[in-house]
C-alpha cells in the first residue's frame, strides 16, 4: 500500500528583506519578495528521503496562502514532490495560528494521509505551534522537532534534541512530524526537476471545498488580535575602535564602566 505523505509548506516574506506590517496590522506581503520558507525545505527534503525508502509513496505539498503562494508549491514540486494543494480564499486574509491549523487539518483530511511532515517553525511568524495543533486536531500522534527521522513498518521514529535531553521518539502511523534544520541540507531542484514540476498537478481549494465557514477564519474570526506595532528604535550608534594592540584592554575598560567587571 502506498505511503501517503503530506508536507505543509508556507510561503513567507524574505527574511533578508525589509519586512513590515500592513495598515490592518497583518504581515505586509506586497513589498517584500516571498519564497518557500527555508525551514520547510527541510520538511520537503525529509519527505523525499522517507519516500525513497518506502516501496511506494506519494508526496503532496500543501499550502494555505495567497495567490503567490503557488511559488512555494512549485519549488517543492521541483525538488521532487508529486502533487500540490493550494488552499486560497479571500476570506483567509488575517487568519491566525488556530485558524490556519483548522484549514490545514481539513485539507489534510480531504487529501488523505499516513504521514504529515512540517517544518519546525515558519520564518515569519516563528511560532512553531502548527505541528502540535495539527496533531491535536487530527487526533494522531505528534513526533516533533526531529533532527533525524525514519519510517519503517508503519512506525515513525526520530531523534529530538530537547532543551535538557536528547530523546528517541516513536509512534505508529498516521502521525504528524516536524523536522528541524539539523535534519540535513535540502537538495536544490535540478533542471529536470524544474521542468517536470511544470506538469505536476496543483489543485486549488477554497473554504467551501473544505466546508469551513468564513467567520471561523480571517481577521474577523481570529482568536487573537494585534492592537499595535511599533518599529524598534534603531540602537544608538556605539563606539567602534580599531585594534592597535590595546583593543582587548579598551573593551575591558568599557565593560568596567558598564559595571560588568
Amino acid at each position: 500500500m502506498s505511503l501517503r505523505i503530506v508536507v505543509c509548506v508556507k510561503y513567507v516574506p524574505d527574511a533578508t528583506g525589509d519586512r513590515h506590517f500592513a495598515e490592518d496590522l497583518t504581515v505586509d506581503r506586497d513589498d517584500v519578495d516571498g519564497l518557500l520558507s527555508e525551514l520547510d525545505e527541510y520538511a520537503v527534503e525529509q519527505a523525499l528521503q522517507i519516500a525513497d525508502e518506502a516501496d511506494d509513496a506519494e508526496i503532496t505539498v500543501l499550502t494555505v496562502g495567497p495567490e503567490d503562494a503557488k511559488d512555494a508549491l512549485r519549488k517543492a514540486l521541483s525538488m521532487g514532490a508529486d502533487k500540490a494543494v493550494h488552499v486560497e480564499d479571500d476570506d483567509l486574509h488575517g487568519t491566525d495560528a488556530l485558524g490556519t491549523s483548522l484549514v490545514l487539518a481539513k485539507a489534510i483530511e480531504k487529501t488523505g494521509y499516513d504521514l504529515v511532515v512540517c517544518g519546525m517553525a515558519s520564518t515569519d511568524g516563528t511560532m512553531g505551534v502548527l505541528p502540535a495543533m495539527l496533531a491535536e486536531r487530527l487526533g494522531v500522534p505528534q513526533v516533533s522537532l526531529l533532527a533525524e527521522v525514519s519510517v519503517e513498518d508503519g512506525t515513525v521514529k526520530g531523534r529530538r534534541d530537547g532543551d535538557t535531553a536528547t530523546e528517541q521518539l516513536e509512534a505508529r502511523l498516521p502521525a504528524v512530524v516536524s523536522v528541524t534544520d539539523q535534519s540535513g541540507e535540502a537538495r536544490y531542484p535540478s533542471f529536470k526537476g524544474i521542468m517536470a514540476a511544470k506538469k505536476k498537478p496543483v489543485e486549488s481549494w477554497d473554504l467551501e471545498d473544505l466546508e469551513i465557514e468564513s467567520d471561523e477564519v480571517g481577521l474577523e474570526g481570529a482568536w487573537s488580535a494585534v492592537d499595535g506595532a511599533t518599529e524598534r528604535p534603531a540602537r544608538t550608534a556605539g563606539t567602534i575602535v580599531k585594534d592597535e594592540g590595546e583593543g582587548g584592554k579598551q573593551l575591558a575598560a568599557f565593560l568596567a564602566e558598564r559595571k560588568f567587571i
Binding site: H20, V129, E136, P141, I240, G245, R258
Partner: protein, 320 residues
C-alpha cells in the same frame, strides 16, 4: 481577583528560572495557581510559594516521562476545568509551546507565543512581542476564549512575593491519545557547569571567525572569566565546532542577557533574531563592514585571537 494558571518547568522538583519570572508577570493579571507535573512535582511548592503562587496543583505519573506532550496537555486541561482561570501562562520552552498550542485547540482559545512582557488590560492580558527579528514590537491580546500565553525567558525579574502556595493534588485522567508518542530513551545532557544559555546574564558567542573546534576554548575562557554562558552562530554549529544546543538565533536559542559579546560573528538577520534584544552588545570582528557593528554599544575591529585573550586577561586582572 481571578486566578491565573502557570505551568511549572522543573527538573525533578528544581524550578527553572523562567517559571519564577513568569510568576512575576502572572501576578499582574491575577492570582497565580501553579501546575507542577511529573517526578518531584510536590518539591516545587516552596520555591513557587516564595514567588507568589497561592496554590500549587501537583500530579505525578509515569506517563509524563514515558510519552511526549499529550499527558501534560491532559493535565493542563484538568487544571483549566478545575480552576476556570483568567489566563493560562507557559514558559516559551519547546515543550511549553507545544502544550500551550494543544491546550488552546482543546479549549477553543486564542494563543500568543513568545511574549516578552505582559500587562493587565481592560479586555484581558496584553502581551508585548518582538517580531521580524526584533525589528518591531507588537501589542497583542487573545480575543476568543481564555488567553493562552507563552513567555520568553528573561522577560521579567524574579521577585520574592510570599504567598500560601498550598499544595493540592490535581486529579487527571489520561485521554486515549496520551500514549501515542513513546519516549523510547532519554539521555540527559551533561552539564558544563556554565550558566544556562537562555538564563545567563552574560553570553559570549563565537562564530565562523573562531575557525575551528580547537579554538573555541578562547571563547570559553572569556566566558568563564565573566561567569557567562557560551553561545555559537549557526555557521560554527553546522561546522561541528560547537553543540547545536548552544546555537543562538532564529533556529537556536533566543537570548536577552544584560551583555552579549559576539566574536567572529557577522550578524546575519537570523543570528540577530536571537540576540537583538540583549541590553548591551559588544562585538569583535576583523571586518569593519560586518553588520553586527550596526547593533553594538562597543565594537572592536580586529583579530579575535588578539583581542579576546587580552580582554580575558584584563577581566581576570580587574577581578583580582
Amino acid at each position: 481577583m481571578a486566578e491565573v494558571l502557570v505551568y511549572v518547568d522543573h527538573v525533578d522538583g528544581a524550578v527553572r528560572k523562567p517559571t519564577l519570572e513568569l510568576l512575576t508577570l502572572a501576578r499582574r493579571v491575577g492570582e497565580p495557581v501553579a501546575v507542577a507535573l511529573g517526578s518531584g512535582a510536590a518539591d516545587t511548592a516552596a520555591a513557587l510559594a516564595e514567588h507568589g503562587a497561592v496554590k500549587v496543583l501537583t500530579h505525578d505519573a509515569s506517563e509524563y516521562a514515558d510519552y511526549l506532550v499529550v499527558p501534560k496537555v491532559d493535565a493542563l486541561q484538568a487544571a483549566y476545568e478545575a480552576v476556570s482561570p483568567a489566563a493560562v501562562l507557559f514558559p516559551s520552552s519547546t515543550e511549553g509551546k507545544e502544550i500551550a498550542a494543544r491546550l488552546a485547540v482543546r479549549i477553543g482559545s486564542g494563543i500568543i507565543t513568545d511574549a516578552v512582557d505582559l500587562e493587565a488590560g481592560v479586555e484581558g492580558p496584553v502581551a508585548t512581542q518582538s517580531v521580524f527579528a526584533a525589528a518591531f514590537t507588537t501589542k497583542s491580546r487573545v480575543s476568543k476564549g481564555t488567553p493562552v500565553i507563552t513567555v520568553k525567558p528573561n522577560s521579567a525579574a524574579v521577585e520574592a512575593a510570599p504567598a500560601a502556595g498550598a499544595v493540592e493534588a490535581l486529579s487527571v485522567s489520561f485521554s486515549d491519545k496520551a500514549t501515542g508518542t513513546k519516549v523510547v530513551s532519554r539521555a540527559a545532557r551533561e552539564s558544563t557547569g556554565r550558566p544556562e544559555l537562555t538564563e545567563a546574564a552574560i553570553v559570549v558567542s563565537g562564530g565562523r571567525g573562531v575557525g575551528g573546534a580547537e579554538n573555541f576554548p578562547v571563547v570559553e575562557a572569556l566566558a568563564d572569566s565573566l561567569g557567562a554562558a557560551v553561545g555559537a552562530s549557526r555557521a560554527a554549529v553546522d561546522a561541528g565546532w560547537y553543540p547545536h544546543t548552544n546555537q543562538v538565533g532564529q533556529t537556536g536559542k533566543t537570548v536577552s542577557p544584560q551583555l552579549y559579546i559576539a566574536a567572529g560573528i557577522s550578524g546575519a538577520i537570523q543570528h540577530r533574531a536571537g540576540m537583538q534584544t540583549s541590553k548591551t552588545i559588544v562585538a569583535v570582528n576583523k571586518d569593519s563592514e560586518a553588520p553586527i557593528f550596526d547593533l553594538v554599544d562597543y565594537g572592536v575591529v580586529g583579530d579575535l585571537f588578539e583581542v579576546v585573550p587580552q580582554l580575558t586577561e584584563e577581566v581576570k586582572a580587574r577581578k583580582g
